[in-house]
Amino acid sequence: MLKRFLLSDKEIVRRVRENDRTLLGQLYIHYSPAIVRFVKNHGGSQSDAEDVMQEAIIVLWKRIVADTLEPRARISTFLFAVAKNIWFNETRRRKRHAIPGTDQEAHADSTPDALETVLSTEQQQQVHRALNALQKVCRDLLLLFYFEKRSMSEIAAHLNFANSNTAKAKKYQCLKKLKEQMSHAH
């Protein structure tokens, strides 16, 4: 009963907007069986299904935060549709990689060269390390702003800043610190 209430669509939307992170695991537990079954029935493994489920939850989360979720859509339906699309894209991508020669030229044009990929990966790891080295407030602020695309007023409310201007100033400081961390690591 309680579970049904906590995972009702309205409640999910409310909790996401309030940045209730405990919802993530609940969504996963509650909706994963159907999606895992779907992925497994369409040639995926358990880990594929887990990945798809995670990606679908992230998409849902971002949609709710950005307020672009169709209000009439049921969350279970939305999650399943997103998971289905993600899995079909993934299977297409795998097929493309599995058959050499097909679209090779186009593929070569569109993909970045190896050096660029390595550099990009390295920079990502660097940023990851630098983020982890930051204070929690800074890390949360940057992730809320750049990943979840929340507004400054929302961030100020969640992180208990006085107002959005304070949050903005703090974000600037945090970015500076992040850059410093990255240059130190470099």
């Binding site: 993530l24 695991g25 537990i29 995670q54 750049y146 990943f147």
Partner: protein, 386 residues
């Protein structure tokens, strides 16, 4: 806001987050065209933001898995069984054990508990057991089924089955021939009643008896130790035409502890008794008491009390009153229900209506309810004299 090298990072930030209007974006693009180092800087910022976004993505995936793992641990299947077992234990088993535990004190049953704990009651229990074995042995050789009258000092009382009773006198049966006749009838009837296993009344053979001023024999301690709140003799003496004044009481000299613990009934015995009967008595055969009958009421699980009541007896009345209030579960009650008595408006009435309960009124204040479905009635038989 004009673009300059001091605030260019803020323009980059806005541009990359799509927060610039068309006009400002055009202005920004123009400015970047003339400042190639600023363009490179923007590309750096762009990579940084993408990296942050990617890191956030990974962090969220990790968070989802961590929380799911935590929740799955909480939803461990055996945990549900443990929870169910705990609920079952605390909500069902523990209360049942507590309620039916002999050590458990229900509110309002202190007197009973104390009474049960007294050594005299223990002795009485033993005596009952003894009596039961004795009666079983002597069933075949029983010859004494006569009724001796109360005025007879050497009277052994009613013989019910194989357990002779002590007799007590009252105004109603002093020198009455009809009383003696009725007593014979009673004796015949009661001799037909087979004593149930475990509920055979105790003998009073060895109990000392006393005579009162009228020469009637009374229970030795009942008048002295029980401070009877009602002068039931006045109310009862004239009513009963039976003259059978028999009481098997345990209110004798060997139970002073019990007798001294009588407390006045305060009118709520009705509700208490109903609840208690409902809770504690297993269903038994339906008994429908009728007028002009002798009704034996047998209570299944009472430990040791037997009453044989002609309702005319003041002593018996007090005793019953006392015992019911004290023990709540008299073992057997023999009710003589003559028609005249039944309709008399007096302090004691036995009524049986269409409801589930038989009501016995002791007086206007005290009522004892017997659940028909929980009483076995036997010997519904008209006395010959009536």
């Amino acid at each position: 806001m004009h673009i300059n090298p001091e605030n260019i990072h803020e323009w980059h930030d806005r541009y990359l987050n799509g927060a610039l209007s068309d006009e400002k974006r055009a202005h920004y693009e123009d400015w970047l065209a003339t400042h190639p180092e600023a363009r490179r800087e923007r590309e750096e910022w762009e990579r940084l933001f993408k990296s942050i976004e990617q890191a956030g993505h990974e962090a969220m995936k990790q968070e989802i898995m961590d929380q799911a793992a935590r929740l799955q641990h909480r939803q461990w299947p055996m945990l549900a069984w443990y929870r169910a077992a705990a609920i079952l234990f605390f909500i069902v088993i523990l209360p049942v054990v507590l309620i039916y535990s002999p050590d458990f004190k229900k509110p309002g049953t202190d007197i009973t508990q104390k009474a049960l704990e007294t050594p005299s009651i223990s002795a009485l229990k033993e005596e009952l057991e003894r009596e039961r074995t004795l009666s079983e042995r002597s069933t075949s050789s029983r010859t004494d089924t006569s009724l001796s009258h109360g005025n007879n000092n050497s009277a052994r009382g009613w013989s019910l089955g194989n357990t002779p009773r002590q007799t007590y006198g009252s105004k109603a049966h002093e020198g009455s021939n009809s009383n003696a006749e009725f007593a014979d009838n009673m004796a015949d009837l009661l001799s037909d009643v087979k004593p149930k296993a475990g509920i055979t009344p105790p003998s009073e053979r060895n109990r000392p008896t006393r005579r009162d001023e009228t020469g009637n024999t009374k229970a030795g301690a009942s008048k002295q130790n029980i401070k009877a709140p009602v002068n039931a003799a006045q109310g009862m003496g004239g009513i009963a035409q039976s003259g059978a004044l028999l009481t098997q009481s345990i209110n004798n000299n060997d139970t002073p502890a019990l007798l001294s613990k009588q407390e006045p009934l305060n009118g709520n015995i009705e509700a208490t008794d109903m609840t208690e009967w409902k809770e504690n008595h297993p269903p038994m055969r339906l008994m429908e008491p009728a007028v002009n009958t002798i009704v034996k009421l047998t209570f299944s699980d009472s430990p040791y009390i037997l009453f044989i009541l002609p309702w005319s007896s003041a002593v018996s009345m007090d005793t019953l009153d006392y015992r019911i209030s004290e023990q709540k579960t008299p073992k057997e009650i023999y009710l003589n229900v003559p028609e005249s008595f039944y309709y008399e408006k007096d302090s004691v009435r036995l009524e049986s209506d269409s409801t589930q309960y038989i009501r016995i009124n002791f007086d206007s204040k005290r009522t004892f309810w017997l659940d028909k479905n929980r009483i076995s009635g036997q010997a519904i038989k008209k006395p010959r004299s009536q």
